[in-house]
Amino acid sequence: MSDQTDEAEEALPPPEGESDIIDTEYEIGQDNVTPQIGPFGLDIHNPVFVVSGLVVLGFVIITLAFQNVLGPLFADLRGFLTSSFDWFFLIAGNIFVLVCLAILVSPLGKVRIGGADATPDYGYPGWFAMLFAAGMGIGLMFFGVLEPVYYFATPWGDQPLMGDIGVVEGTLADPATVEAARRMAMAATIYHWGLHPWAIYAVVALSLALFAYNKGLPLTVRSIFYPIFGERIWGWPGHVIDILAVFATLFGLATSLGFGAQQAAAGIGYVFGIPGINDTVTAAVILIAGITVLALISVLRGLDGGVKRLSEINLVLAIVLMAFVFLVGPTVALSTQLFGNIGAYATEVFALSNPVGRDDDGFRQGWTAFYWAWWISWSPFVGMFIARVSRGRTVREFITCVLLIPTLASALWMTVFGGTAIDQVIERVSDSAVYGFVVETYVPELSLFGMLSELPFATVTSIVAIILVVVFFTTSSDSGSLVIDTITAGGKVNAPVSQRVFWVIFEGIVAATLLIGGGLIALQAAAVSTGLPFAIVLLLACYALIRGLIAEPR
């Protein structure tokens, strides 16, 4: 953990073995200002901190004031982007996967993040726990049951590739059709949670890690674009990229926090029999306050003592819940289905990711393009966090652990939760709780709890699930706040502690305000809309990444 340098050395030692340091005139923190606000000394990037804060504040105020106009406007914008540019999102997603796989098998995979002699900062379990908890966690809780069952049972014209439907007007189709529908539902779900999203994260994370740890540029989103913009990246082009990243991260987190609190509240109401808990926002606001306090404790305990530990607790809890569902669910069927599902994904992924000449608009635009925009808008946050904790890994290790293993983990999770839920629907059709929440009346936030309610120890597992929702949110919230803090401090990770406290609380307040005043959906749409500009930006990043990797010694 430390370098003894008692002996005199005149020249600077080579950086952790060889690496290709970029020679720039820019000094990290040169644009920072250090105002003193009351008793708190700050160290913030000028103008990124102030502009990001004001833009967020302005958006919240304007959205609250003109809700009736802006709500539909943002929703239309998102709808327009995902339906008009679906082909672009699909092509971009495919490019990210191909770039990652090409780097994985090429000699570039031998490059080590942090210089040729760097050693990993974190062991495999802690590293994986952190990247998984930040990257995907909460979505798995929300969509793990919802999405597979939705595809399996909805005859709404948006089934994957116009596949067969397992349930038709409340009765089961013939066994062969049911099996085909199940297989297709799982393949489509794993497609949305597999290689493509993780490739998006991997491209951003690998680029940031490379340009910070190997090239010596500040750990902030703009650094990726040094090969393209050169020294201009320290001016307004860079400011805009960083501000956009803060905007997408903060609204992505705050709106998810709002929806997550509603899901947890709905779960509490369902388990403890408190109907109408979501009729008012009280319960959800209390939950937001609770999650914010937990996130605050986490960031104040630091990356190792707080964020990493919470991520590990989170992963263990998730594995326990998954193991339980696997054991009390249709264990034998699930074991065989896992390989069948991965096989189905491997064969169907080509048709599912084909960007042109398809007639499944509802699925391709409503689900796939929306997901891709969503993952892309989250990528600055998740990518930056993964980058920060990945020093010392080779590029090959990195892509294996950020692309391939999470894809398998997602497939496993979806097989267990989705497979069990589909099994319940096949067994009991319209009598099953999941059918009630997904097909009959659409109550997506209760789909998971509906599935758990038909398994033994439903109360215990539902409470575990509620805790998991809360912890998953906390692990996204704390790492997200650290990321925003670093970006708005111009790439400094040791900015005064009061700044990270500010961002955690700010995010909680934005979420609570939007929940009380309305506008969660509007601003989530606005955050997802940043997916389009970022998709273009990320394609440029692929080029910068490959050029950067080629320049490294390997």
Binding site: Q4, D6, P13, G38, G41, P218, L219, V493
Partner: protein, 137 residues
């Protein structure tokens, strides 16, 4: 009376350390005790250095400059950290124990209301270390 003096330094703000460095040098000459400069740095690039190795080199150069300027015996050691803003207090306590220092001289700001929320690094080290701690304001 003192055998080894430990001085935490922030290479980003050496200008704010002038008084603490001078006090440490005077005490070093008075007691004939060597000064051990330590610094906690991030793994990520910082204003001071591109990476921890480069940082360690700069700290060593800083130690040599202090030795020459004051005619004292100096050593240095840098501690790379995942999250320096939070880990620094813990790391400094470990550094004091590891170096076997019995006197710590460190610069600290004049306390204000924020110290009720989270104490200054100097305050935290003084609260938890076995060594004598001299906070220079």
């Amino acid at each position: 009376m003192y055998r080894k003096i430990l001085v935490p330094v922030d290479l980003t703000h050496v200008d704010r350390l002038t008084r603490a460095l001078a006090a440490a040098a005077d005490l070093s000459k008075h007691y004939g005790a060597p000064v051990h400069y330590v610094a906690v740095t991030a793994q990520t690039p910082t204003p001071v250095a591109h990476n921890p190795k480069e940082f360690a080199g700069k700290l060593a150069a800083f130690g040599r400059a202090q030795a020459e300027a004051h005619g004292i015996e100096t050593t240095t050691k840098s501690y790379p950290s995942h999250d320096p803003a939070i880990d620094i207090n813990r790391t400094l306590l470990d550094a004091i124990a590891e170096a076997g220092a019995d006197l710590v001289v460190m610069a600290s700001h004049v306390p204000n209301a924020a110290d009720y929320l989270w104490p200054s690094h100097g305050g935290s080290v003084a609260s938890h270390s076995d060594a004598s701690v001299f906070l220079v304001r």
